[in-house]
């Protein structure tokens, strides 16, 4: 049956929801299709869009409302990194269902390449510094018995490098969290302008 095929496909795209939420959504649309007398796939898709498109809109609304509700409930507490990342992803998916899809795709691609290259650069730097720190500690230990001062010096240097690296990583995490937060709020505004208007 076309209705069951449509709903099964919709269910697949809604995998991100909990089983209860997914069951609720499917029940709602099963009844809708019955009450609206949509008898074949063409009629269903004319009214609701294809399953993928519908699922993206539903998911995007879930995320946006949740981020908004979180903001209302915890006025000072910022939305978690995970919630924001989830939302950005879902907004991108919702936008891909709109006519502006190609633009969105290009922007996301450029963004990923940009941040990807920066990421690779940072990771390489971190690896080098870890190596330097370890080498210094090794030199320090091996020289320690022969020359106390030199040994202590290298041990100190190694610890300094590794310690500083740990602090830098914490800072990096905070920076990433901030950037994601900013992007999440930006994509929320973009969603409200572009997707809601195409309703």
């Amino acid at each position: 049956m076309d209705k069951e095929n449509y709903l099964t496909e919709l269910a697949e795209y809604l995998a991100a929801l909990t089983p209860e939420e997914r069951a609720d959504v499917l029940e709602f649309y099963r009844e809708f299709i019955d009450d609206a007398n949509l008898n074949d796939t063409k009629a269903i898709e004319q009214r609701l869009g294809n399953p993928k498109r519908l699922s993206r809109k539903i998911l995007a609304d879930f995320s946006i409302k949740e981020v908004e509700m979180q903001k209302e409930n915890n006025a000072n507490q910022k939305a978690s990194l995970k919630a924001n990342s989830n939302m950005i992803l879902k907004v991108i998916l919702a936008l891909l269902a709109t006519p502006a899809a190609l633009v969105v795709l290009a922007t996301v691609f450029v963004g990923l390449t940009f941040f990807g290259s920066i990421g690779i650069g940072i990771i390489s730097l971190i690896c080098v510094l870890v190596l330097v720190g370890i080498v210094c500690l090794y030199i320090g230990f091996s020289v320690l018995l022969a020359n106390l001062m030199a040994g202590i010096f290298y041990l100190g240097l190694g610890l300094l490098v590794l310690g500083g690296l740990m602090m830098a990583l914490v800072l990096l995490y905070w920076i990433i969290k901030g950037v994601v937060q900013f992007t999440a709020q930006l994509s929320q505004k973009v969603y409200q302008r572009l997707v809601k208007r195409s309703n």
Binding site: V25, E31, D35, K57, I58, D61, F62, K65, N199
Partner: protein, 108 residues
């Protein structure tokens, strides 16, 4: 050009309809669409949100051998509706003051 309906207003409209009688999903969508152009994917998240906040409950009733899920307003929902309606009314009055003055100026 369309005026964008906020989530709050949409919540209020759904609650207002439910204050008259219990509705099942499709009928509610139809009646809302008499006043507003909203997409088919908008109704479900609104109802889910209202249910999550305790403003609406659901119950099932058999119909022609299948199931129909009805939405019903709660006492909390009635209070929330009053809040939104007041918000809307104040908004409407303030805007009308400016619009109506403008119309009068044009005629004189």
């Amino acid at each position: 050009m369309e005026i964008k309906v906020t989530a709050d207003l949409l919540d209020g409209l759904v609650l207002a309809l439910l204050s008259k009688k219990d509705y099942y999903g499709y009928a509610l969508t139809q009646d809302i669409q008499e006043a507003l152009t909203i997409s088919e994917s908008t109704m479900y998240p609104v109802l889910r949100r209202l249910k999550k906040n305790g403003f609406v409950t659901t119950y099932d009733q058999p119909y022609q051998g299948r199931n129909r899920r009805y939405y019903q307003i709660t006492a909390q929902g009635t209070e929330h509706l009053a809040r939104i309606y007041k918000m809307w009314n104040d908004f409407k009055i303030s805007l009308d003051q400016i619009f109506e003055n403008k119309v009068i100026d044009k005629e004189s």
